[in-house]
């Protein structure tokens, strides 16, 4: 949750971005992970999450000049766009194949979803802070979905060494998740 000072700084950043679109990069960098995580919890599918994330930021970028600051975090506006983008995605997909409908969510389920988004965003953030070798393994395994043998080839190591690195990376993540909850 942003405090009053952070909210004021965010308002300034939004106003700068409205005047100078290149400043939108800062808003993009700040919220990319959260919007992507939100899209992922909505769609449970990487390709769909990428589509929804791209649609969200495209719409936000196009509509930014008309955005009016109402004292709530900018992310609330982005999440609303993302929710609509996810619904649009399912509508488009359902014309091509049968997919489960997105349910209209209650406030409580929105809250749970946002907690899930924050947890996932935090985990993605922890991956970025892993030691270099461990981060590469996790990125290739979960981000690129490469097999152990493909990762081993890319890193020039044996499969056994990569499995060991993978294990160490997961242990590091577990320790850091634990630290951040203490």
């Amino acid at each position: 949750m942003l405090d009053a000072k952070q909210l004021e700084a965010e308002q300034r950043l939004v106003q700068f971005s409205q005047r100078d679109p290149s400043r939108f990069a800062q808003l993009y960098d700040r919220y990319f992970d959260r919007i992507y995580s939100f899209a992922l919890t909505r769609t449970s599918n990487r390709a769909a999450a990428e589509d929804v994330t791209a649609d969200t930021f495209r719409q936000a970028f196009e509509n930014l000049p008309r955005f009016q600051w109402r004292g709530v975090p900018f992310s609330a506006w982005l999440f609303r766009i993302a929710a609509n983008a996810a619904a649009d995605y399912y509508q488009r997909s359902s014309r091509e194949q049968v997919v489960p409908d997105i349910q209209v969510e209650s406030d409580a389920s929105w809250e749970n979803r946002l907690i899930e988004v924050e947890t996932r965003t935090h985990l993605f953030d922890l991956v970025k802070r892993l030691p270099n070798d461990q981060r590469r393994v996790i990125q290739m395994r979960f981000g690129e979905e490469l097999s152990i043998s493909e990762v081993a080839r890319a890193m020039g190591r044996s499969e056994g060494a990569v499995k060991s690195l993978q294990h160490r990376a997961m242990e590091t993540l577990r320790a850091r998740v634990g630290d951040s909850h203490d």
């Binding site: 700068f16 992507y36 791209a54 985990l123 690129e144 152990i148 997961m170």
Partner: protein, 186 residues
């Protein structure tokens, strides 16, 4: 259980998770804790996706060379209008006093005597000063060009902008002069 066997078990669980299925508990509590954590990593953003989307949204930022660097700097630095004007004005003041600062550094490093540096400053200061005034004029021109129309608004804005940028200019320029005077160079 050997380390290798534990690594294999975890890898099998991760393989299941990546393929989109939920993993079944292995009975090894350490492995299962890590596998549950790995569930949260499913769908980790692919490397390059963030950068590609950013390049598509704001193409200038990904440009190479000077224009890309300037665009990235502009995007990274979020001065409000007043701070931006003060920084720019201060920059012009520093340009005016560059020969004083440069001369002081050269003298401190022992590359030139105080007399030689003093003569250099006396000769070149008017040129640096003139250059900085041109820079200030260009700066104010660009600021006012973005302000829109209306004579009253424009006059008011010109006054305010000149006051902010001019004050910063004066302070920085005076500081550079004071520095060279304190060193007995001017």
């Amino acid at each position: 259980m050997t380390n290798q066997a534990t690594h294999d078990k975890l890898n099998a669980s991760i393989e299941t998770i990546i393929s989109g299925r939920d993993f079944a508990a292995t009975g090894d509590s350490d492995v299962d804790v890590l596998a549950r954590l790995a569930l949260g990593l499913r769908g980790l953003p692919a490397r390059g996706f963030k950068a590609r989307l950013r390049a598509e949204l704001i193409p200038g930022l990904e440009a190479r060379g000077l224009s890309g660097l300037l665009a990235r700097l502009r995007a990274a630095v979020s001065f409000d209008r007043g701070t931006g004007l003060a920084v720019a004005g201060g920059g012009c003041g520093l340009a005016a006093g560059a020969c004083c600062v440069g001369g002081t550094v050269v003298n401190l490093l022992g590359f030139a005597s105080a007399a030689a540096v003093g003569a250099f400053i006396e000769t070149w200061l008017p040129y640096f000063f003139s250059l900085s005034l041109v820079m200030m004029t260009v700066l104010l021109f660009f600021v006012l060009r973005r302000e829109g129309s209306g004579r009253v608004m424009l006059t008011r804005s010109a006054f305010r902008s000149s006051a902010v940028a001019g004050s910063a200019y004066g302070v920085v320029f005076a500081a550079t002069m004071a520095l060279s005077m304190a060193m007995g160079l001017y």
